[in-house]
């Protein structure tokens, strides 16, 4: 298939591996930020092909994994509320809250609708004028513009039965938090290509310089990922600090300006709690005051709801790259995709799910 097969080409893969092998002279630890990249790495078992000097650690870029548990509790409450439809992306439905998940709630009659786009949720509101439709707005800068567009449309069309439960998170503050942690061992980053498609990569430059850590904007196919790794290794080996773009077919330095303008119109930046990691200053989008009538948190009086994580889950250690899924005592025993303790075991972008699904040797 055009635009796919060329990025899964064995010859290109072999050439990139040879190039990495010829350049690498010492051990390097590289983190891929995005869970989509983690899954591609495991699905194509790139770890098998890379030289042993390269250690890949997996980052926090799994949107449903970092959605704080209290927001999932709020979504669960909304899904059980009379005359209310909770609309959500599919990947969120299996993520466990403190006692249950949205799919189980749906099985008991909760009104949960899977949608492919936030605009589908606006349409649901139009089609069900006597119901309240709440969209569970989860994701990084990649999905936020579509949510901003949905709010903008609902505002223009004066739809008064649509609102959003906002859980959006931002990548750069998370990278800063990782790099400033005392236990940080990351030498270089693969930045998430889809996030950078929207936001560009200018805001990564001061971070790379401050922490003297190279970053390479990277795509999601095997050739893309190996190209990103090869560029990172090259920068590390030659002592270059900065940001390079290994995904130019999608990413421009300045990003998608109309999408950024829309984000700025609808959202303001504030603190956000990350599941397993904790609060990160300036790492979340929140609805601006003038759009407060779309804020489900306020509309349905959900503020102050809290929930607790299962103590055994080490999602935070996994999401910050400090531990690999196999290092969790619950991996594959108490925690499996069919009954996850934490979100990384269930999401299609979660590191634990990727290891469980694609890896043979260290699984029970």
């Amino acid at each position: 298939m055009k635009h796919i097969d060329e990025y899964r080409d064995k010859t290109l893969v072999d050439n990139l591996i040879r190039k990495i092998e010829s350049e690498v002279s010492r051990p390097w630890t590289i983190m891929e930020i995005c869970g989509g990249q983690t899954h591609a790495i495991m699905k194509y078992n790139l770890l098998d092909l890379l030289p042993r000097e390269i250690t890949m650690v997996h980052g926090p870029g799994c949107p449903v994994c970092v959605t704080p548990i209290e927001l999932i509790e709020k979504a669960l409450i909304l899904s059980r509320r009379e005359n209310t439809i909770l609309a959500s992306f599919g990947d969120m439905l299996r993520v466990p809250g403190s006692t249950t998940d949205l799919l189980s709630t749906k099985a008991l009659g909760g009104n949960v609708q899977m949608v492919y786009s936030p605009l589908d949720a606006v349409q649901l509101a139009i089609d069900h004028p006597h119901m309240q439709v709440v969209f569970f707005a989860v994701g990084f800068e990649t999905t936020a513009p579509a949510v901003a567009l949905a709010v903008s449309q609902a505002n223009i069309r004066k739809i008064d039965n649509f609102s959003i439960l906002v859980a959006h998170v931002l990548v750069p503050p998370a990278i800063q938090a990782l790099l400033s942690a005392p236990q940080n061992r990351i030498d270089g980053f693969l930045a998430a290509g889809h996030v950078c498609t929207v936001m560009g990569y200018e805001q990564y430059i001061p971070i790379a310089e401050k922490y003297k850590t190279p970053m390479v904007v990277t795509g999601f196919e095997p050739v893309d990922i190996l190209f990103g790794i090869q560029k990172t290794v090259h920068m590390l080996e030659s002592g270059v600090v900065g940001v390079e773009n290994a995904y130019p077919r999608s990413v421009k330095k300045e990003g998608n300006l109309p999408a950024q303008a829309l984000l700025k119109e609808i959202f303001e930046i504030g603190d956000r709690n990350w599941r397993g990691i904790g609060p990160i200053p300036g790492s979340g989008y929140h609805l601006r005051e003038k759009y407060r009538r779309f804020n489900a948190d306020l509309l349905f009086d959900l503020q102050g709801i809290e929930a607790e994580e299962p103590a055994i889950c080490i999602a935070g250690e996994i999401l910050t790259g400090n531990k690999k899924p196999f290092e969790c005592s619950a991996f594959g025993t108490l925690c499996k995709p069919e009954k996850p303790l934490g979100a990384p075991m269930v999401s299609s972008e979660g590191a634990c799910a990727a290891y469980f699904k694609y890896s043979i040797t260290e699984k029970n």
């Binding site: 989509g36 699905k43 194509y44 078992n45 599919g90 069919e338 972008e349 694609y358 890896s359």
Partner: protein, 350 residues
């Protein structure tokens, strides 16, 4: 705990799931959990224990295959077919997977109040057409109607009886290291056709279900090659789940070659967009054949003379290594496992 199974409490821990989820019907791990923890312990016997698509029974010296299936597809009309021909073809193919020539089927309809009679007429016409094509007779049936909202327009339950072809011995436990794995064409067409219609997606070309009865093609193979070890239609849960079941029950390993598995361009495109893995998507006109390598060229020759087998290919091998695991040699030369699906595939966020 009492020794009598009927006096025991449910062995699926409450901490797993207290209620049935859609995923329990997805053909993956949760379906298997119901089978292993509830159906086998309470109902198990030596015939059920074979874990095949249908039961093989010997009565008065005649070897029969017997199967049952239910059809709850939504939408009931979809590109390439409808719930009627799907029901006949599915039942016929389950009998075929027992190495049998399908003979008789039953049909039980559960109709929801409000179903247009015209729809029922169209569905029954398709049933007749599919039955004629497969050479089976509908010999008994039943009709029930449930109130509005208590069903979803139409559900069909079937059972089927076939006559096992003499000299064959088909079953997952027959699978042996060195065997080849053949499939009769591209995968994932049915599931993607259904999902596209259900979700209102349209692509440049309409993706059609592959629903088809395979008895004529498979009978021709079995008449000539009694050495076929396993036949399995990779329906719910797709190719990956079917091969995991075979690998588990035969305690062998399976290695698949990604570049040998046919997937049409439009299905690949749809899977890329929706974030689905085609290995887990349902097929309704495909059959996996596992047999000694020496017979593969002859079997492929026969398959390729049939419309349903034009693109038949060897997609993998049975191995001694890693028993119980299915491995995939990727297009880029690495190797990874292909696990059984856990629940329904859910589209990713980005």
């Amino acid at each position: 705990m009492s020794g009598n199974i009927l006096e025991q409490s449910c062995p699926i821990p409450k901490s797993d799931y207290e209620h049935i989820l859609l995923a329990h019907g997805g053909g993956g791990k949760l379906t298997q959990q119901l089978i292993d923890k509830i159906f086998y312990p309470l109902l198990g016997n030596e015939i059920l224990a074979r874990g095949h698509d249908g039961a093989t029974l010997t009565t008065s010296g005649v070897k029969l295959a017997f199967t049952t299936d239910s059809f709850v597809v939504d939408p009931i009309f979809f590109p390439g077919g409808n719930i009627g021909d799907l029901a006949v073809n599915g039942t016929v193919n389950d009998l075929v997977c027992c190495g049998a020539i399908p003979k008789f089927i039953s049909l039980a309809f559960i109709l929801e109040e409000g179903l247009p009679i015209e729809d029922l007429w169209e569905i029954v016409k398709s049933i007749r057409h599919a039955a004629d094509k497969s050479g089976v007779k509908v010999v008994t049936g039943d009709t029930k109607v449930v109130g509005k909202g208590k069903g979803d327009r139409i559900f069909i339950n079937t059972s089927g009886i076939g006559e096992v072809i003499e000299g064959t011995n088909i079953g997952p436990e027959q699978c042996s290291p060195g065997d080849v794995i053949i499939i009769n064409g591209s995968i994932a067409d049915h599931g993607i056709a259904i999902m596209s219609k259900r979700e209102g997606f349209s692509f440049e070309t309409t993706i059609e279900s592959d629903t088809a009865s395979l008895n004529e093609m498979v009978t021709e193979v079995l008449n000539k090659y009694k050495s076929v070890h396993v036949l399995r239609d990779p329906t719910r849960g797709g190719l990956a789940s079917a091969l995991n079941e075979i690998s588990n029950s035969s305690k062998t390993g399976i290695t698949l070659y990604e570049d040998k598995i046919g997937i049409s361009e439009s299905v690949r495109g749809a899977c890329e967009i929706m974030g689905f893995d085609p290995l887990y998507i349902a097929n309704e006109g495909k059959i996996l054949m596992i047999l000694p390598e020496k017979d593969a060229p002859g079997v492929l020759d026969i398959l390729r003379t049939h419309r349903e087998g034009k693109e038949a290919a060897i997609i993998g091998y049975v191995t001694e290594e890693d028993p119980g695991f299915v491995k995939l040699r990727t297009t880029i030369g690495s190797s990874r496992i292909v696990d059984m699906i856990t629940g329904e595939q859910l589209p990713r966020i980005c």
